[in-house]
Symmetry: C2
Subunit: 270 residues, 2 copies
Amino acid sequence: MPHLKHMTIHTKTKSIINKPLILVTNDDGITSTGIKALVDAMKEIGKVVVVAPDSPQSGMGHAITLDDPLRIEPVRIFEDVDSYQCSGTPVDCVKLAVNKILKRKPDLCVSGINHGSNSSINILYSGTMSAAMEASIEGIKAIGFSYLNYSFDADFSVPKKFAKQIASKVLANGLPTNTLLNVNIPDLNHKHIKGIKVCRQSIAKYEEDYNERLDPRGRKYYWLTGKFVNNDPGEDTDEWALKNGFVSVVPVQFDLTAHHAIARINSFWK
Amino acid sequence: MPHLKHMTIHTKTKSIINKPLILVTNDDGITSTGIKALVDAMKEIGKVVVVAPDSPQSGMGHAITLDDPLRIEPVRIFEDVDSYQCSGTPVDCVKLAVNKILKRKPDLCVSGINHGSNSSINILYSGTMSAAMEASIEGIKAIGFSYLNYSFDADFSVPKKFAKQIASKVLANGLPTNTLLNVNIPDLNHKHIKGIKVCRQSIAKYEEDYNERLDPRGRKYYWLTGKFVNNDPGEDTDEWALKNGFVSVVPVQFDLTAHHAIARINSFWK
């Protein structure tokens, strides 16, 4: 089979010459410390292009910009890396990158490293994870990284190491179809991290407590505050892993069907 | 067992005297035709309270407002119905309703009726569905309704009938834990609708085609446009149901774990 043999050789040569193309984005904005750490980690394993929001977009979930025009500006912010800032949401960034900026489909899209946790139910509110999910919808291998340290000047050396390690594994092994990864890294020294644990999303929720105030004109307004409450006792969850010193890796899908519930709902009309 | 017997009688009496409390919200904004139709339908089966965005919030996904104060204003817009408009996203509306406005947890939260489809992957971008999902996270039975007609002056009499019918079924039968419903109604006369079909979410995607323009100062900007492409051949999907004249009902969950992928991802570290 000379044709097949030729193809194999060709692919091998290509993978040596051409580094994998890695799209980096986030939701904290292109100037955040977390995305800088992720760019540095990805430069060691591929050719990096950055397309990230020009301002913080935390809590944007899977929002897209429908009623406003979008802007993209090239910026010089990371050494030797093509970088663009975008006026839209994290999901807009991925859509624009794939459709307007990149010359070919990237081999991997990584989002983060988020300043703060995106474990459990936080995945739904997280622009970081929605950007990764959008890439997965586009058929691109995708990972969202989050570090359980919210401070501006957090030391990202530990999460950076895990980002490189996990991204390398995904580039080498691929991911199941329509599946992305939600990776959370605990705020611990490297020697205190017990390892990587593949888990399920913990079923937790927020107990909101809106902070009520009066503006200078005497009118009420509210700030969202709240407490994250995990009542899921499972030892196979991301919350358990993080509390017990592991990096949590949750495989995530964008098919939201509750397949197990179809029969029950069907019985409503029987 | 006199105690149990007493409780049964008590519950029965209560359900006759107290109508179910139904929270109505949407993402098209409190002045839309679709929410008016939903309020009218729910008034026939329960006590309705409306908490909805003060402006259109389409495409907001599961966004929440973290960095801006939130406003709530009572409004007189629906006859005999307590109504509030909120400056936030659809998810903010549900959180504020449950935590600041309603005196008790509602028996049902309905969102919509959305002007346009929220079938398949649209669920991820949809503020309508995210509002319903937020209610489900709060432990409230929840349904999102969408009508496959985008026009401002669409006739909502058909979707209104189905909203009433499906909401009544859910009030009577309950829903499995952590499950909500995504209901889409085709743009057809009632006599042409073949029935209600419980289905799975179709695995489809958008093929974006950003519209590139120049502003008066000669700088580029983009409008998001695109084509919805369904390559999922399944006859058990919402897309199939809608194309074939059925109302689609997809049971939805907010556990995004790709449980089937855990073993494969685990093998990366073996």
